[in-house]
């Protein structure tokens, strides 16, 4: 349904997104994950036809953003990261306006607007000016304008930023409820958001895709990786050296005499670490296996990529 093919986007001389490719199948919710400045917004703007890619192409239902931008735009609903709407318009009037621009037939427009007001729970504010609404209501209006043409594809750029927990929950369930019905790309820098709502994940960092898999797989492959936390008495640098020397250890970091040891996915190194520490003449004060949360996984993916490039 959505296909991104070797997309590179440059702002003048700066490369914001480099050779990005991925696909989203019909009905899937794809989490597009990356820290700030990773290139999520840029990629999404290419997909929406907001601007063309410098290199590469993107397709929505087989229509190219370069050759048939209007066909692409008819099929998408877009929620920008920092949505700006016409503050002087009333909610209902605005959604109707967007519906008309998106080509909803005149005869269906009225009914469609009513339906959107229901779906997005805007009944209490639909005669108010958009400028006077709270952040939460504004976000629902933005979602309303995205949905008004009943688009098969939804592009949501960090839709839950700035909302309170209740509103975040509401918006996530709304997104989740559209699974199977619409193809959705949801960008975020918040990991739990992905594990809660998305079936697949693409992780991007500094304009480059670093991982793409199902949410379950990414979660599993990373929870199988081990982290061991140690507290060791002795010269930290020498401890670090000793532990780093153990086969299977990927990375050792410390603050003072507390250490975090990253190891390969297979095998538990706790026994080996304990032996080496003691053999080295240090005092092993504490040790425990650390099962990684998704949050750590994310940090890890990103830092690994950075490490490899250096």
């Amino acid at each position: 349904m959505i296909k991104i093919e070797n997309v590179t986007k440059m702002y003048g001389p700066t490369v914001a997104v480099k050779d990005v490719s991925f696909e989203v199948e019909k009905g899937e919710i794809l989490g597009f994950l990356g820290p700030n400045g990773a290139g999520k917004t840029t990629t999404m703007r290419v997909i929406t036809g907001y601007f063309p890619p410098t290199l590469g192409n993107a397709y929505i239902a087989g229509h190219s953003v370069l050759d048939a931008p209007l066909e692409v735009k008819k099929r998408i609903g877009y929620v920008p990261e920092t949505p700006a709407m016409y503050d002087d318009m009333r909610v209902k009037e605005y959604i109707k306006y967007v519906g008309a621009l998106k080509g909803v037939p005149k005869t269906e427009l009225k009914e469609r607007v009513e339906r959107i007001i229901g779906t997005c729970a805007l009944e209490s504010v639909y005669t108010k000016n958009i400028g006077s609404l709270s952040k939460g209501f504004k976000q629902r209006v933005v979602l309303g304008q995205a949905l008004v043409n009943d688009p098969p594809v939804l592009i949501l750029d960090e839709p839950s930023t700035g909302l309170d927990p209740k509103q975040i929950h509401e918006i996530r369930s709304l997104i989740k409820s559209m699974e199977g019905e619409r193809t959705i790309i949801l960008s975020t820098h918040i990991l739990p958001e992905v594990s809660m709502t998305c079936s697949k994940v693409v992780i991007i960092n500094e304009g480059v895709i670093v991982a793409a898999d199902t949410t379950d797989n990414i979660g599993r492959s990373l929870t199988e990786s081990h982290q061991v936390e140690l507290t060791v008495g002795g010269d930290p640098d020498r401890v670090k050296e000793t532990v780093s020397g153990i086969a299977g250890v990927r990375n050792v970091s410390n603050s003072g005499n507390r250490f975090v040891v990253d190891s390969e996915k297979d095998g538990d190194l706790r026994a080996e670490i304990a032996r080496k520490v003691v053999e080295g003449g240090f005092d092993l004060l504490e040790m425990r296996a650390h099962s990684m949360t998704l949050e750590d996984v994310f940090l890890k993916l990103v830092t690994e990529e950075e490490g490899e490039r250096q």
Binding site: G12, K74, P83, A84, A100
Partner: protein, 258 residues
């Protein structure tokens, strides 16, 4: 077509709900009306004096005494009141960011430009229409029904007004700041106005002639005299077309650069 109509409606509604259009219309009507009554008073005094003079039985020409100088000074009024109508059309959308969603709707750049352009043109038409009752009064007062030069004068003012608007929209698309757009519009209109005065006719006759051809008010003269010259019409139409076309191109290049 539907897109143009929708954008047109929204923009007209915006003019309708914001103070700028009202202020502009009021100022235009007041200044235009003031000049009109001044000319008319002068005309009536003159006619009265002439009627006392048996050796001068002809009447003085209403068009030459009232409308020609009025239409001529209207260039200055337009220069002052039209840029405020065009300044926000794109600058505001860029500044507030509403243009982002617009760019993701299935709307062509030129449709966006035409919708806004037509809306601003509507305000211009309202302004001109408000001055029409005065014309009827003058005709009734003078008992003269010489329509031709007045109609051509109005056509000229309309074309000049639309030219001002079109240049203003182009500048609005180039800027993110309404006030900057306003000031640049004033500067650009003045520059187009003064073309032709730039060179002393004695020293460079040819050059002066060429530049005069480009001057935006020079082309109004014939209309005021009651002459509709194709060259003048073509000048304004080309000027307007170029501005509208360039505005669409500016939007397109904005898209490419992000």
């Amino acid at each position: 077509m539907r897109n143009i109509a929708e954008i047109f409606k929204r923009e007209v509604r915006h003019y309708y709900t914001s103070p700028i259009a009202y202020v502009v219309i009021v100022i235009f009507t007041a200044v235009f009306g003031f000049l009109y009554f001044r000319n008319l008073t002068y005309y009536s005094q003159l006619s009265y004096q002439l009627m006392q003079n048996p050796y001068y039985p002809q009447r003085i020409d209403l068009v030459m005494a009232v409308f020609a100088p009025l239409f001529s000074s209207n260039s200055i009024i337009f220069l002052l009141v039209i840029p405020p109508l065009s300044m926000r059309l794109f600058a505001e959308e860029k500044k507030s960011g509403t243009i982002e969603l617009m760019f993701t709707y299935p709307v062509k750049d030129i449709q966006m430009v035409l919708g806004k352009w037509l809306a601003s043109l509507t305000i211009l038409l309202v302004m001109l229409a408000l001055s029409v009752p005065g014309v009827f009064m003058a005709f009734k007062f003078a008992g003269s029904w010489e329509w031709g030069p007045v109609l051509s004068g109005y056509l000229g003012m309309f074309l000049m007004g639309v030219s001002f608007l079109s240049l203003g929209i182009l500048i609005s698309a180039l800027s993110e700041n309404q006030i900057v757009a306003l000031i640049i519009s004033y500067g650009a209109l003045l520059a187009f106005w003064f073309l032709g005065w730039a060179i002393d006719p004695n020293s460079g006759k040819k050059m002066a002639d060429v530049l005069t051809e480009f001057s935006i008010i020079q082309h109004l003269d014939n209309f005021i005299k009651g002459v509709i010259d194709t060259r003048d019409v073509v000048y304004y139409v080309l000027f307007i077309f170029t501005c509208v076309f360039l505005t669409a191109r500016v939007l397109e290049s904005k898209r490419w650069r992000g």
